[in-house]
């Protein structure tokens, strides 16, 4: 019979997780509507950057950024990971960092370089673009982003700038009406 470890009381059950604030991600038990759009941001001889797999919610937009080198590669440096540099105290992003931004039709902007709001901030003043998950290696990366709030109807611009790849600032507009139509098809299963 054990003695040492058995002498500690069993921990209390964990409290239920706090629901995400709207700018942090989709509401639980909701599934975005499919947006039939795909935006090629960069297509050079060496690399492809595509915005794909758009899922629209009433509160925001999920999408995936695919970065793929056009050759067999053992490159492990993540071009979308700016977080590891940002903590170093106001440094400009290195040229190797792929800058990603969203231009709303009403002039508001969101950027992958912006510092996200404090975790408990309920109503950020500006739109927020956060990377929620992702993976990659060997010249291929897939990153899932959440954009809050849902852009208004009208052209929505995806903006990219990637100095190390010789990609100057470039913008591709997608149809905000298609995003809104898809948001109307979002599923909320929480009440089932």
């Amino acid at each position: 019979m054990g003695t040492f470890f058995d002498s500690f009381p069993s921990p209390d059950p964990l409290p239920p997780p706090r629901p995400l604030l709207p700018w942090q991600g989709p509401a639980e038990l909701t599934f975005g509507g499919f947006v039939p759009l795909r935006a090629v941001l960069v297509d050079t001889e060496s690399v492809l950057v595509v915005v794909d797999r758009l899922l629209a919610h009433p509160t925001g937009l999920e999408f995936t950024v695919l970065v793929a080198r056009r050759h067999a590669s053992d490159d492990l440096a993540d071009p979308l990971d700016w977080g590891q540099h940002r903590g170093n105290g106001g440094l400009d992003p290195p040229a190797e960092v792929l800058r990603l931004g969203i231009a709303y039709v009403d002039g508001r902007k969101a950027s992958s370089l912006a510092r996200p709001p404090h975790w408990e901030e309920e109503n950020p003043k500006d739109p927020v673009l956060v990377m929620r998950s992702g993976h990659g290696s060997r010249g291929r990366w897939e990153k899932q982003y959440w954009l809050w709030p849902l852009p208004p109807e009208g052209p929505t611009g995806f903006v990219v700038h990637w100095p190390a790849e010789g990609v100057d600032e470039w913008r591709v507009d997608v149809d905000g009406a298609a995003i809104h139509a898809a948001a109307d098809q979002a599923l909320a299963l929480g009440d089932g």
Binding site: E28, D52, R53, S133
Partner: protein, 185 residues
């Protein structure tokens, strides 16, 4: 020449590519398939197959599990190697498919690493989650023919009994034609 100014080492050779029956090809950009199948929707649990991406050699998707009332305390455990005996491994998540031609595959099976299997393969290869959510990425090889694909999941540790769903195989098959070759192997 300074002490640290040694000639740059030559880059190491690229590691061998994994066999196509185990993972999506890394030289192809897959095509998103607008599919979603709700497998379980109960008062305590939601299980959905979604985020389908089609390739010429197969398709990948995510099984997402979300608990409403009860916290999930068990990992899906599909990151662990499948048991060599084929015996159930203590309540771990399992996924299987039946392709339009009737051939079947289960994540319990351990596919060969060197010899191309003579039966389909489904592998659960990347997962995660926290709180009351778990997700597991799955890969099915080969690309099914144009017809219905049956999907089955079971997760004893989360009291998920064997549950079946059906996928639009034609949508997967058609989407694969939109995938893009990045470079030749």
């Amino acid at each position: 020449m300074g002490f640290f100014d040694a000639p740059a080492p030559s880059p190491p050779p690229l590691p061998p590519l994994p066999p196509p029956w185990l993972f999506p090809p890394d030289n192809v950009l897959g095509a998103f398939v607008p599919l979603r199948t709700v497998l379980i929707r109960s008062s305590s649990l939601l299980v959905v197959a979604e985020r389908f991406v089609a390739y010429p050699t197969g398709f990948e998707f995510t099984v997402r599990v979300q608990a409403r009332e009860a916290m999930i305390t068990e990992p899906m455990a599909a990151d662990a190697p499948p048991p060599t005996t084929g015996e159930p491994d203590g309540g771990a998540f399992r996924v299987g498919v039946v392709l339009p031609d009737g051939s079947r595959a289960s994540s319990q099976s351990r596919p060969a690493l060197e010899d191309e299997p003579n039966a389909p393969v489904v592998s659960a290869y990347r997962g995660g989650g926290d709180g009351n959510e778990r997700h597991q990425r799955c890969w099915v090889w080969p690309l099914p023919s144009d017809g219905p694909v049956r999907l089955v999941v079971e997760w004893p540790a989360a009291r998920v009994k064997e549950t079946w769903g059906e996928l639009d195989g034609a949508a997967i098959h058609t989407a694969a034609e939109r995938s893009e070759l990045l470079w030749e192997r």
